[in-house]
């Protein structure tokens, strides 16, 4: 039988089974085949979305492994952002325990990088123009702020995760990323306000923002560690001071203008 006839016969058998509702797996495979060949964007570039996931370590490289962490609507994100502005409630971890998202942390960090670079550039520009000096754009601001923000939100939760596990108050890693990401949100309005060229005002803003952010992280962590019944004091103060240090570093690097 010629190859074409064989193909057609196999195809017909597929359709028979589909119509008889025999096998959902075959229906799935058929749909994938048709979707791929007729370029229907259902499922887009992931032909394996209907199949059981691949095993092992390379799951971390598929998109589908991270989809559960982006399962949020616009209203959820806005609620979480508002929550991060009220540090004394301490209810953030409870609210995000079941559905921590990575969208918020990532895009808050990215926005912060952009805002920090642009405000820092603008501040040095104004300072130079006021003194009628030459001014050049410093591209290193962008790369430096990218390193600081992404590094802080990645490394510190990782270390905290390990420490918490050691002290038997384990928390999920994604919850920690989520907590730290949203804690940085308050820096965005703070940086925008720091354009005002008064030195005292800038220190006050940096202090207030750093304090709010650090309290947010500290209180939420304290709630979590308390619920695991451990002593919380050392870890929480350490985290608090670290966040304050971040605020001070930002203030010093971005707003110290030597003309």
């Amino acid at each position: 039988m010629s190859p074409l006839n064989l193909q057609i016969r196999t195809f017909k058998r597929f359709l028979h089974r589909v119509h008889k509702g025999r096998s959902l797996v075959e229906l799935n495979l058929l749909m994938m085949l048709m979707a791929d060949t007729f370029s229907k964007p259902a499922g887009g570039s992931q032909p394996g979305s209907g199949e059981p996931q691949g095993s092992g370590w390379f799951r971390t490289f598929t998109i589908a492994a991270y989809k559960p962490y982006f399962d949020v609507d616009t209203s959820d994100i806005i609620d979480r952002l508002k929550e991060s502005l009220f540090p004394f409630r301490g209810t953030f971890t409870e609210k995000t325990a079941t559905n921590p998202d990575l969208y918020g942390p990532f895009w808050i960090c990215t926005t912060l990088i952009f805002v920090a670079a642009s405000i820092g550039t603008f501040v040095t520009y104004i300072a130079h123009k006021l003194k009628k000096k030459e001014w050049d754009y410093d591209i290193n601001l962008v790369t430096w702020s990218a390193g600081v923000f992404y590094g802080y939100v990645t490394v510190v939760p990782l270390i905290l995760y390990v420490i918490l596990k050691y002290f038997s108050a384990p928390s999920g890693l994604v919850q920690l990323f989520c907590l730290y990401g949203y804690s940085l949100f308050v820096f965005i309005p703070a940086l925008c306000l720091s354009v005002v060229p008064l030195e005292i005002f800038r220190w006050v803003i940096a202090g207030v923002a750093g304090f709010m952010s650090a309290t947010f992280v500290a209180l939420n962590l304290k709630a979590h560690i308390n619920s695991a019944g451990e002593r919380w004091f050392l870890i929480v103060t350490g985290i608090f001071l670290l966040q304050l240090a971040l605020a001070v570093v930002l203030k010093l690097y971005l707003f110290t203008v030597t003309v």
Binding site: R9, H16, Q46
Partner: protein, 282 residues
């Protein structure tokens, strides 16, 4: 066509007609020309393909070339030593089996200018469809189907070069940052939509985001020529709004309406940061 009914189950009456229709279409296309595999998308201009004139489907009367994998349709492979005679020219026939590959030897032996002209005209037509959308055009999905990556590549490199020319110091760093920002930004934006559960095809989205950079290219060029800060701000704001407006329909239609703002905000952020870079570099 012989049907052996011994290994098939009796069919529902409506499915038999479907199967027969598909069979007829396959037979019709087989007789009209070589069709190796159903392509992932129907390409409208004939693309270069391997000069294989026989396929697994037909019984070949031509001296068989070395066996090729049937899905390698769009690569330029060095031609087969025993060059088979060209297959009968195929037109754009049925919708299921797209035979738009065209007569292969023509695209390999045509003058280079023809190839370049074809790619350039595709870039121009995609540009018109994406950046100057005419609401009354007859085929709104054409730009999506005919995506290519040459246009975006030219626009990104041009923007990087323009920014680098405008910069007074550290020119190469400026180019590097601009290029990395745009390229990584397009990839991250696409991944963002996919992660939010949207439906787009990866390279199609890269292509569209690249084409939407064209207004910012014009803005950067104008800012290079004129040095007044006020004019720069106006020009950049206008081109920024134009870019975002061009990108809006594609991005918003790809995701769930409750998550539309989540998909659109990063696009806006990227264009604003590029616009800021254009203003700041002087």
């Amino acid at each position: 066509m012989s049907n052996s009914h011994s290994d098939t189950i009796p069919l529902h009456p409506s499915s038999q007609s479907d199967i027969d229709e598909i069979e007829n279409l396959i037979n019709a296309s087989v007789q009209s020309g070589p069709a190796t595999v159903l392509p992932a998308r129907p390409p409208s201009p004939p693309r270069a393909s391997i000069p294989v004139s026989s396929s697994p489907f037909i019984q070949s009367k031509i001296p068989p070339p070395p066996p090729q994998s049937s899905s390698s349709s769009n690569h330029k492979v060095p031609s087969v030593p025993a060059a088979p005679p060209p297959p009968p020219p195929v037109g754009n026939s049925s919708s299921i089996v797209a035979t738009g590959f065209g007569p292969p030897p023509n695209t390999l032996t045509e003058p280079v200018w023809d190839t370049v002209k074809r790619d350039l005209s595709r870039i121009v037509s995609n540009l018109k469809l994406v950046v100057f959308p005419n609401p009354y055009r007859e085929d709104p999905g054409k730009a999506l189907r005919d995506w290519d990556l040459w246009g975006p590549f030219f626009f990104i490199v041009f923007l990087g070069l323009t920014l680098s020319w405008s910069a007074s110091v550290k020119k190469s760093e400026v180019f590097a940052v601009a290029f990395a920002l745009l390229a990584a930004g397009a990839i991250i934006l696409t991944l963002n939509v996919l992660l939010l559960g949207g439906h787009i095809i990866f390279f199609q989205s890269l292509s569209l985001l690249g084409y939407c950079l064209f207004p910012l290219d014009i803005g950067a060029l104008i800012c290079l020529l004129k040095d007044n800060v006020i004019i720069k701000m106006i020009v950049v704001s206008v081109t920024l709004a134009w870019s975002s407006w061009a990108a809006y329909p594609f991005m918003s239609s790809a995701v769930n309406p409750r998550r539309k703002a989540l998909a659109l905000y990063p696009v806006f952020l990227m264009y604003v940061s590029v616009g800021f870079l254009i203003i700041a570099i002087n």
